[in-house]
């Protein structure tokens, strides 16, 4: 029973990372209908920048702030210079462009910092069954999720974002600066992606460190439903806990297969994810 509890806690801590990355994917998908393959690269670059800033200043939190800023900048820049020019191309084009960006950024990180893993500190004490660092991961992701909920639900900025995503022409006519709004959505989402990077980077950071995390984050986002930020968070935590059980009770080589089986089962029952709100958005 204690073993079960340990596996659950481990799973929740890693699930928080999947949740944060899934959340960033969902926000971008909601805003621009693009599955952003460069998201793990944004997280990666942000984490490396944090590493450099922390090494220079000696402060973890200075690095943390730099990471969020880097993520936001990369997100906004990508929306403006890569995704917006492709808004009239086939829907696959922006996806492939972000895939190209993933390769460029991953390679660039290797060029600057090398391919050897770096030692990357935890924000708080990592010792304990459910350590302060684990708690930080979980709490920060939940706070972000609730913050987003409040933003979208109760503020004019959130309303503009929803309008710009769903009816860009109508929104433009009613005075919403659609370009700025979409770029801000990407910036916000990518800052959350950078948070995921900061949570995922410890203990060791290498250019390919986020590859698998990204795959599981996509699985989480899709299983939870791409229309629903809460679905992404729930999906991320569920995937983390599930993979922890599989590793602990069955064997680590089965994690990807188990994730595949669960994802296919979920989608067979609910083709738009567990938390989709009916098929309201289907045209």
């Amino acid at each position: 029973m204690e073993h079960f509890a340990n596996l659950t806690l481990n799973g929740l801590a890693t699930g928080a990372v999947y949740a944060a990355l899934a959340l960033s994917l969902v926000l971008i998908y909601q805003a621009t209908r693009v599955l952003n393959f460069a998201q793990p690269a944004f997280a990666l670059v942000s984490a490396y920048v944090a590493y450099a800033v922390t090494a220079a200043t000696g402060s973890y939190w200075a690095g943390f702030a730099a990471a969020l800023a880097t993520g936001a900048l990369l997100g906004a820049g990508t929306e403006r210079f890569l995704v917006r020019p492709l808004r009239n191309a086939s829907p696959l084009s922006p996806i492939i462009a972000t895939l190209g960006l993933l390769m460029v950024l991953q390679g660039a990180v290797g060029m600057v910092w090398g391919n050897e893993p770096l030692s990357f500190a935890y924000p708080l004490d990592y010792r304990g069954r459910f350590s302060p660092a684990d708690a930080f991961a979980l709490v920060s992701v939940l706070l972000v999720a609730f913050g987003l909920f409040a933003l979208y639900r109760f503020t004019p900025a959130g309303l503009r974002m929803r309008a710009a995503a769903i009816r860009p022409e109508a929104a433009r006519l009613s005075g919403v600066r659609v370009g700025v709004v979409l770029a801000s959505a990407w910036a916000l989402a990518s800052a959350i992606g950078a948070l995921a990077g900061m949570l995922a980077a410890p203990p060791f950071l290498a250019p390919n460190a986020f590859d698998l995390i990204f795959v599981f984050a996509i699985a989480a986002a899709v299983a939870g439903g791409l229309e629903n930020p809460f679905g992404a968070v729930a999906g991320g935590l569920a995937v983390g806990v599930l993979l922890s059980y599989v590793t602990g009770y069955a064997g680590p080589e089965l994690t990807a297969l188990a994730a595949l089986a669960v994802l296919l089962t979920v989608l067979a029952l609910k083709p738009d994810g567990l938390f989709s709100r009916a098929a309201a958005r289907k045209v």
Binding site: A89, N115, L254, T255
Partner: protein, 370 residues
């Protein structure tokens, strides 16, 4: 807008482009009716292409022969993906998983039944892939757009893990190594093993392309394009939606697994790490780079997969760079080429070339309602 309708560029409406197998020679203006039958026309194209490959490999060395073989098998793999993505509009990020199936089917047959004829091995690998495609297609038939993409991405990562689960049968992380038959003895001296393998791969690939092109030109192709453009309308006009989608998956998976079988045959290895995340992503990326909707697009894609990597490596060697920069240059180069092509030619290399060929600048019909 509906995320499920991934529309291919307008070039798809151009039957000459959609149907032609890549070849080095131009079609003769045949007037006889038999030549108009798609199967015959595609078959003639294929024979011409095979002759061109045979001539090319005869003039080059073993390294180029290997690359030619690589282009051939990637052409087949991307053409299979083209059929799924370009024709039926279902975006799969898991095509590498079917190459994994074909590769291991071939490897297991060669290792356990060495006397099994090569042709039978290829057929068995293709059948195994079709079966896998049937299962995956049926399991994902109701999924649209990004949900299908996510599920197939997980497939690309999850399926190769089977090799780790059954190390005694499938060799675990080390995979399987084996020797495959080279050039027949009576060609000794004229044709070496690598050249021979390249010709065999292209033969298999071209047979596959003829099947794909013919299917695409026929009733199934029309159904799938109707489905891709407007599922509801297609359904109303009598297209069996579910069955057509699954059939597309089966055919596409068959081509993918045949390509995997060719890879196993050429290289004498089957390993899980070959069929990881990056292969599936590169296949789809190269397809978009080459051009959606035409087999020519698949041809440019296959060239890009093999030669952009080579160019990146040679560039890295030519420049005097620090170790870290040199090592990472090829992947950055590939990514940069991808971004540039997508931005400059949203319809891919083939789209750009055919626009150039037509000498007119009709605006693109993108069908994207955003």
């Amino acid at each position: 807008m509906a995320p499920s309708t991934h529309r291919a560029p307008a070039s798809d409406a151009d039957p000459a482009a959609a149907d032609s197998a890549p070849a080095a020679t131009a079609p003769r203006p045949g007037r006889r009716a038999a030549l108009r039958h798609p199967l015959v026309r595609h078959g003639l194209w294929a024979v011409a292409a095979l002759a061109a490959v045979a001539a090319l490999t005869a003039a080059t060395g073993p390294v180029t022969d290997l690359r030619v073989a690589n282009v051939g098998l990637h052409l087949l793999a991307v053409a299979g993906l083209q059929f799924l993505v370009g024709t039926s509009g279902q975006v799969s990020l898991g095509h590498g998983a079917f190459m994994f199936v074909g590769s291991y089917a071939m490897a297991l047959l060669v290792v356990n039944v060495p006397a099994m004829p090569l042709a039978a091995g290829m057929a068995a690998a293709c059948a195994a892939g079709c079966l896998a495609g049937l299962v995956v297609g049926a399991a994902t038939a109701r999924l649209h757009g990004p949900y299908l993409a996510g599920a197939t991405l997980m497939l690309a990562v999850g399926l190769p893990a089977i090799a780790l689960r059954f190390p005694d049968l499938l060799g675990g992380a080390n995979g399987l190594a084996f020797a495959t038959i080279g050039a027949p003895p009576f060609l000794a001296g004229a044709v070496d093993d690598t050249q021979w393998r390249a010709i065999v791969v292209w033969t298999v690939a071209l047979i596959g392309l003829v099947v794909l092109a013919t299917a695409s030109a026929g009733r199934l192709g029309r159904h799938l394009r109707a489905l891709r453009d407007d599922a509801a309308a297609a359904s109303l006009s009598g297209v069996p939606v579910g069955r057509a989608r699954v059939t597309a998956f089966v055919i596409s998976a068959g081509a993918g697994s045949l390509a995997g079988a060719c890879q196993a045959y050429v290289l004498g290895t089957a390993t899980p790490s070959t069929y990881g995340l990056s292969l599936s992503l590169v296949l789809l990326a190269a397809l978009v780079l080459g051009g959606l909707g035409s087999l020519w697009g698949a041809f440019w894609a296959a060239l890009a997969i093999v030669y952009v990597e080579v160019a990146g490596t040679e560039l890295a060697h030519a420049l005097d760079l620090s170790t870290d920069v040199r090592n990472n240059l090829p992947v950055v180069f590939f990514g940069a080429v991808l971004i540039t092509v997508v931005l400059a030619w949203p319809r891919g290399v083939h789209g750009a070339l055919s626009a150039l060929g037509r000498h007119r600048s009709t605006p693109l019909k993108t069908g994207d309602s955003r």
